[in-house]
Amino acid sequence: MSAQETAVRPMRIVVCIKQVPKAQELQVDPATQTLKRVGVPSEINPPDANALELALTLKERHAAEVVVLSMGPTSFDESLERAVAMGADRAVLLTDRILGGSDTVPTAYALSETIQKIGGYDLILCGEETTDASTGHVGPGIAGHLDLPQITYVSDIRIVDGKVRARRTAEDGTEYWETALPTLCTVNFGCNKPRSPTLTGKIRVKRGGVLVHWSCAEVGIDPKKVGLFNSPTIVAKVDTVKLPPRAGRIFTGEPKDAVRALLEALLRDRVIAP
């Protein structure tokens, strides 16, 4: 190999993921009015899974290295291991008690510091938002801290001549953006179908050595910038939406007649227009 070739390294993609309660299992604690996170089945935040799938597609096309990153308690290992079993090369969990209660401001700061410690990043992918908080702040926040160009709501990425060409799905149409690497993209929910874990991937996880835990001290995160007291968000009030009562009428008889009766009732009650 020539000197030039030995200097070549694969493109490195960092995918930020969060573990969230499964959408169907969402429960609000009636006492604290906050989301129950302990003891409910969890999953990779669905838009993050789309970001991961996009990264794995790019890995296949460009032999890229995919590093998955998350911040949270060690129970998040489950999702990071799943990401490796799906095809990511390795995973990093930033885990530290002092991070507890962080909102999106400290989270974006802490993740950007961790990404710098991982180093050598060419592309950072995040989901457009999380299903448990829906702010969409963290991705753009990381881009801000790292002073990177960013493209939000991306549904596809091509790497051409060392540049990112991204398809951005906006409310009023589709935009195509191009920017130099390194860059950060947030990925549209549902833009692809995340793959299942493979046997080979699960074996890699079992063999170990694919996941590391880092503390704030190890990364060099300023304790005065993270945690509940350094989070500007104030939750003023939480309301639980009450479902309106149902009429509870049941239409019986021959399916054809029952449907007719149902339609007539809906028309009469002005639920639907003729």
Binding site: Q4, E5, V8, R9, P10, M11, E60, R61, H62, A63, A64, I159, D161, G162, K163, L181, P197, T198, L199, T200, G201, K202, I203, R204, K206
Partner: protein, 449 residues
């Protein structure tokens, strides 16, 4: 720009490496057969991968719920210490049912509860997880949530398993232990598709009852259990039978019925189960219980004569996938044979390794190890049972006859009683069975049991 295109461009396109994981042995299916095989292989120093399609071992599996302990004793002499036993069976019952009556035989003996001859009831999820954990404890790697669809074959020999085109794992030996509906046995070319006549359908309901109620109702102590096998009306006269096992705080109630008969008579197995459950004799036992779960599964009824080939180049078949099940009308045996065949598979692998490799001719030693554990010998001994059990008189006519005899023996209405023999002969002739047929059935029954 040039640097970038070099970085991410064609240079690496061909560099896509297939990182193939490699083991000495892969066992497909973490049921009793698979875990016993993985445990034995790992103990003998094979690097072993145990792959299970359920989220946890036992999640996708189903069995009647009773385990004969002898094979487990061979595998893990200390099993009784932490095995998730529901109850030890202290009483065996055989009952013939007609529309509304029941005639039963009950057997109790200290032998039923001692060491190798003991049997116990268990819940599949707990039992399978426990056994798979034992395999992990000695070094087998368990991976769950992966369905293996195909074998990795090259030049006629099995080289590993294929989950997807770029998801293959290599091994010198693959042990197929994925149950009755095994697709891999077919993929290995060891057998053709199953025919309806070769399988039965097993259904089971788990019915919740307080432990104290179970103990009171069946006259049992705290860790004691009862097992029932039902013939006759249980299966509406179709070939097969019913079973009831007492767990700690649930009852397993189910049927095993010939798939061929179900199809021929156009009866839904769920309908059959409802009829069975609502039979007065069964109702009495489960009264007040709540149905927690319903499951159904294929049960192989191959008999030794129709079993698939059990070995090939780089491959062995164990448990239900190999048709290792004995249903002789009074016992349903599967788990013990599964475990014994898993052990034998490990022993065959050890033999083949010493003999120079996992070739079909070396792995043929499996036959010898299966015989040493009485798996094949028992199967052959009972190979007539499926034929005998095919006799429809056994499930329809005879129970009815027995019941009428019992009715005449036990109902006293002051009209004068006949002697037993004349009642029997009288019933036989009124049931329209020629005496020679009765004698023939008796003989055949005796031979097959």
């Amino acid at each position: 720009m040039i640097r970038r295109s070099l970085l991410f461009g064609p240079l690496f396109r061909d560099g896509k490496r297939e990182n193939v994981e490699r083991f000495d042995a892969i066992v497909v299916g973490a049921g009793p057969a698979g875990s016993a095989a993985a445990l034995t292989l790992a103990r003998k120093g094979f690097s072993t991968l145990l792959v299970e399609r359920g989220r946890v071992p036992g999640a996708k599996g189903m069995f009647g719920g009773r385990v004969y302990a002898w094979a487990l004793q061979d595998l893990l002499p200390e099993w009784a210490k932490d095995c998730p036993v529901e109850r030890y069976v202290v009483r065996e019952n055989l009952a013939f049912l007609t529309e509304d009556s029941s005639l039963g035989v009950s057997f109790e003996s200290p032998k039923l509860t001692q060491g190798r001859t003991a049997s116990f009831t268990a819940l599949r999820s707990a039992f399978d997880s426990w056994l798979a954990k034992k395999a992990q404890d000695v070094g087998a790697m368990l991976v769950t949530g992966i369905r293996v669809d195909d074998l990795w074959r090259e030049g006629g020999r099995v080289r590993g398993v294929t989950v997807a085109p770029n998801d293959r794992v290599a091994a010198d030996l693959v042990v197929i232990a994925e149950g009755a509906a095994s697709v891999l046995v077919r993929a290995a070319g060891l057998r053709t598709d199953l025919e309806p006549r070769e399988v039965s359908v097993g259904v089971k309901e788990t019915i919740e009852l307080p432990a104290e109620t179970i103990q009171e109702r069946f006259g049992l102590g705290q860790k004691e259990g009862a097992a029932f096998v039902f013939a006759g009306q249980a299966s509406l006269g179709l070939r097969g039978g019913g079973f009831l096992y007492t767990n700690r705080a649930t009852i397993s109630l189910g049927l095993v019925v010939s798939a061929e008969d179900l199809a021929r008579k156009k009866i839904e197995v769920a309908e059959l189960q409802t009829k069975f459950r609502t039979h007065p004799a069964v109702q009495r036992m489960i009264r007040g219980g709540k149905i927690l779960e319903y499951s159904a599964h294929l049960v192989p009824e191959l008999g030794a004569s129709m079993a698939p080939r059990l070995w090939g180049d780089g491959v062995l078949v164990a448990g239900d996938a190999a048709g290792f099940l004995i249903n002789n009308g009074y016992t349903f045996r599967g788990v013990d044979l599964a475990i014994a065949s898993g052990i034998a598979a490990g022993e065959a692998a050890e033999y083949a390794r010493a003999a120079g490799g996992m070739t079909a001719s070396n792995l043929a030693a499996y036959d010898r190890f299966l015989r040493a554990r009485n798996v094949l010998t028992d199967l052959e001994r009972f190979r007539l049972a499926p034929l005998f059990l095919k006799n429809e008189r056994l499930f329809g006519m005879y129970p009815r006859m027995l019941m009428e005899i019992a009715e005449r023996l036990y109902t006293v209405d002051g009209s004068g009683k006949d002697r037993l023999l004349s009642i029997v002969l009288d019933e036989a002739s009124s049931a329209d069975i020629p005496k020679w047929k009765l004698l023939l059935d008796l003989l055949q029954g005796a031979r097959s049991m």
